[in-house]
Symmetry: C2
Subunit: 766 residues, 2 copies
Amino acid sequence: MNAYIPEIGKPVPRADAVAKATGAEKYAVDHYGDNIVWAGVRRAGVAHGRIRHLDTSVASLLPGVIAVLTGRDVPGTNRQGIIHKDQPVLADEKVRHCGDAVALVVAEDRATLQKALSLIRVEIDPLPGVFTVDDALRPDAPLVHEDHPQGNVLLKATIHSGDGQVALEGCDIILEETFHVPVQSHAFIETENGVAWQERGGKVALVVSTQAPFRDKWEISHALGLPLDRLHIIGPYLGGAFGGKDGATVQCLLVLAALHTGGRRVKMWWNREESFIAGYKRHAVRMHYHLGARTDGTLQALHCRLYYDTGAYAHLGGEVMALGMEHAGGPYRIPHTLIEGWCVYTNNPIAGAMRGFGVAQVSFAFEGMMDLLAVKLGMDPLELRLKNALLRGDRNASGVTLTQSTGIADCLTAVQHHSLWHERKAWKKEAPPFHKRGVGIAAVFNAMGYGRGLPDSALAKVELTPEGRIRVYSGVSDMGQGNTTAFVQIAGQILCQDHTAIELIQPDTERTLPSGSASAGRTTYTYGNALIKACEELRRRLTGRAALMLLSDTLDDLELLPGRVKNLATGREIPLTALAAMMSPEDRVCISQFLMPVVRDKLDTGKEFVIGFPHLLFSYAAHLVCIEVDELTGVIDIKAYLAATEAGRVLNPQAFEQQVQGAIAQGIGYALSEEVLLQEGRIVNPDFATYIIPGALDIPEIVSLAVETYEPSGPYGMKGVGEVGMNGPLPSIAGALADASGIHMTRSPLTAERVLAALQNQQEHP
Amino acid sequence: MNAYIPEIGKPVPRADAVAKATGAEKYAVDHYGDNIVWAGVRRAGVAHGRIRHLDTSVASLLPGVIAVLTGRDVPGTNRQGIIHKDQPVLADEKVRHCGDAVALVVAEDRATLQKALSLIRVEIDPLPGVFTVDDALRPDAPLVHEDHPQGNVLLKATIHSGDGQVALEGCDIILEETFHVPVQSHAFIETENGVAWQERGGKVALVVSTQAPFRDKWEISHALGLPLDRLHIIGPYLGGAFGGKDGATVQCLLVLAALHTGGRRVKMWWNREESFIAGYKRHAVRMHYHLGARTDGTLQALHCRLYYDTGAYAHLGGEVMALGMEHAGGPYRIPHTLIEGWCVYTNNPIAGAMRGFGVAQVSFAFEGMMDLLAVKLGMDPLELRLKNALLRGDRNASGVTLTQSTGIADCLTAVQHHSLWHERKAWKKEAPPFHKRGVGIAAVFNAMGYGRGLPDSALAKVELTPEGRIRVYSGVSDMGQGNTTAFVQIAGQILCQDHTAIELIQPDTERTLPSGSASAGRTTYTYGNALIKACEELRRRLTGRAALMLLSDTLDDLELLPGRVKNLATGREIPLTALAAMMSPEDRVCISQFLMPVVRDKLDTGKEFVIGFPHLLFSYAAHLVCIEVDELTGVIDIKAYLAATEAGRVLNPQAFEQQVQGAIAQGIGYALSEEVLLQEGRIVNPDFATYIIPGALDIPEIVSLAVETYEPSGPYGMKGVGEVGMNGPLPSIAGALADASGIHMTRSPLTAERVLAALQNQQEHP
């Protein structure tokens, strides 16, 4: 049988496909172990209050209960949080949202656990809560964190570029609008969970569904006061995450529990409701836009005010807003901008990272403004976008000069040349009775990486095993996006080995090396760049060591081939197994680091951002959607979807398309139905019967066009493609609705109820 | 106290100076251990013969004798040899020189050992022996190795360049002469020795005075049939070696002994006589030269026939002769050459590697021819040499185009401008009564590295230790030449650490990595090149990992400083100890390989050489010596010595000068007194009472000029300087003698007896 070498550019099947399809691959949730015990959490159930009394005595006495722990039992700072450590592992004196953990129970089985949790008596004196940004910003508002120097404002920041809002005054046309987007849930299949145990010697091991196993170590160490070298985190493949597992969920609770089980394994697994209540969410945002342009459509000035509701704890709220602000001007040249942002604490559930990280929200607003402008000017909306599209070398709305690949114009052109676009008028005319048809487009983009102020780094490690195989140790999680497959392709490309000879080790703080979080579209880019260097070094080593065995005075003739090194001049070969036996263990391992480049522009456009602003690299997309609106029900039916995506070079067409399709599906849910409904900080719809995500039948056939460029800093020219697709569906569908009906919706999701109400309102007030 | 950073170009004190001066450093010979036992060898004492009877029974029964072993007890092939494995560890059926080992004894103490060795009864039927090259080449000569396909010829080889000897016919002047050089002993202070022991699990460890610890593993494995992974070789600093410890001496014997001591340590230490009898030597050579030139002094053609007496076993005989042949034309342009070589087995002691490896011999002949030519033409001998000196870009006498640094003309010019040269005539006139004065010069060169056909490779390994120190693991021995100090300088230069924070690990097959032998002027060049890359990678790692701890998004601001990494932009620092604690053990180790480049010329000048021809790199020197000859005794008194040496860039002026001075001292011994005297293969003068090496008072003040060039392939531009100095004293002193007396000696050493006889002969036959 001939070797199959996984290579760059090939549609290599996913490395995890067979194991996942057959159930052989173990997610964190599949980890159990003999003699396992269960841990669970009693939640506050109150959005804001002071704990008057907490009585765990009855629960503790229940047979089968191993431990009942409260804030007093947390040995460290009892504080977690990626940037700001403001979230208790177990509440101490007050609770700030309904999902706050008040007590932790460890029991022999799940039934006993539930019973014990119900036996804990918690008496909380309610405090007045803040549940909207406006409430929170009132001067006399109750404070979520009494000790926060800026009251309920986690971060107030400004981007000021060119002449700022002053430039609006000189514009031919000024448009103004306000947009609202709601809280969205990640709705991953595998809810938050893990298994922990204390090893002999005191080290605690934790298998956990996480996007950041190495950061988890720091979080746990800080919160629980455990030295870093007492923690061992193992992060298997995730059953989805989308940002919701970037940050501590079960981590500190489980390690705390493991300190009380005498070495027995302890498992915690949030059910769907708990995942809704206690897990992180996408920020709800209110967005006020003023956009100024010339009569020929040239954008001139932008002023926006963005209000992000970050819930009870900081998590990545400030950074989510920063990224939203950086994208608030869209992928367009706007010489003058003033973008103001308020990221505000409330007593709502915690908002944090989610695919499209602050950008999905502003894309709705900005593209809505572009559609309004096109109508106002009577311009073709695609021409309007193309006219203003950023080119490489331009300054973007944050004042950053774009030095890297910048493909939005190419994406728009690809859409423009597609039959769905140039045959749209004919198609729209054939709408069935009581239906309207519309075609919408959106131009979107999404930054990659952490941005300035933080090292965005990966350390790749690759080994020739004693058996002569290639083992790649990835310290960055694969939550389903397929970076693992790209790593196999890189190893195959450089080391020329059969796919069966390439193994992948998933994150493990004792085997793999720190490589940052699986987030920000950075995994393949950052780890991939490091892996290229590590594999090239391993190739050099293997041919160099083979030269010693084959007595060759030059490397020029030596080629690494599947399972062997061959001297092409003499025909002599040495198997990799023999080479491995001759090499010392440390010599069989190559390690390389990659540190993502950052913007070198000396900028003064965004002073308040300590980290995460600005970004050097962006991926781009132009989306087109054809919809049919049922005038009798308000239901939007998506008839066709086209995405032209520029994310540098495509390493694996299949994996690229999967990311585009997945993001668009999630974006369609965000556009049409997904909304976490809150009443006084309590989630009304914490389940999939009432929180509606699209099913397979709700998702249209998606045509994905790859608009390839070559990003010089990327591995083989690639950029991240995981997020940009998320940002297009809501604005393009809203645009299609406007195209079909003339109604410009400014509040999402575009549910049938809302659409029907708007249609009726339009009929009543034409 | 300020840090002292060892750096390139500084006269950094030897890294081993203090430990050696205080006796703290342990040479192999300083290794003992509790409960140690002793091993020794019974030698043949017969130059050629067949073992009729070997009775060890009486010796075995002596109390305190642990084992008596013969050839039958050797479990493997019982054959050792670097290229040709033709030398038994313990003789089987025949003996081929007096030093052949016949039996191995292990005893509780040295007295019992000596007694037991004397109790072994060996009866050998003598065979007719061959003791000269002429004897050996006779068609009916007795064969040293009956199974060798070419009889007593180990290697017959030819270098043919241009029109070869045919060109002699067209020359204006043809000179002819024959030269003889004798056997020389390495005369190192620390004679051959080691300590071995079997560990639990069966592995055998060996601490041994060796130039090639990794090759020793292969030798022992092959000879004794032990798997490579059962052998662990440790090679401390050597008390001298000069080529004499390149190849197995005590290695196989000691490991064999260790298999019979039940885990007790066993020590073998040859005394001076045994070292003379059984150790390796410099080849005696007979050299016939025909040199053709134009009347203006331009060299035209060369024909030489070189006869190397390699003794009883191959060792590196063929390679020594190959290098001699490659240098037989001197550092000059000679368009037409035919150089023929015969390397011949005899029943003399084994000849092999020694500093100047075949080149010290031909330098005498070639420079003798140049002096004769200068006299014949009435030319200034320095002008004659300068006129013909090789320049970069020229083809040398082997037909190789010189692409690398080629500094012989610069060296000659440096001598020419020195007062010793241009004031020589006045100085000579002031000779005291009954003395004659003369000034001689020599232009010499010496190749570096193994040459084509073998990988000349080193693998450097450098570690950040858990204590935050830098540890360099050298797999290449330091026999005194000072490469260790150069390695400390390289680490200091790149990693900017205080000299007290840099540690060096000497060769150890389980801690350091294969880096070839300490020979061929290659150690600093080859390992140094590898170490530069390893240190650069470590520097990258340390700043890269520091970026993660200091939260820096760029490496540009991070500097590695003594004991810490500093962010120059923020002033924040992280100590190397903290960095080490954060890095995994494998991440703290960097490994890099360097493979020496080889000649890329497609050549057909030397077909018979499988390995070791031709070479890419040469170091050059011009030597000048002022002597005074006592006409009444024939004693040559060296009054002044000047060496201008080109070995690329000088990394450490002090170490450079030490190598030059040491080589010249050894060369003066070779020129004036050192000669191993043989009678029927038996050494007549196996001790320092009769084999005369120069003492400190015999060595003049040596002026060493460094003629610096930059060798692009070398570490910081350097080349090896260890050997070239060896080649100058004999020809320059012979030239000075001719200048003083008109006598051109063609047989060395130039002992008082020989000189006096020549002076008397000159008086009698003016």
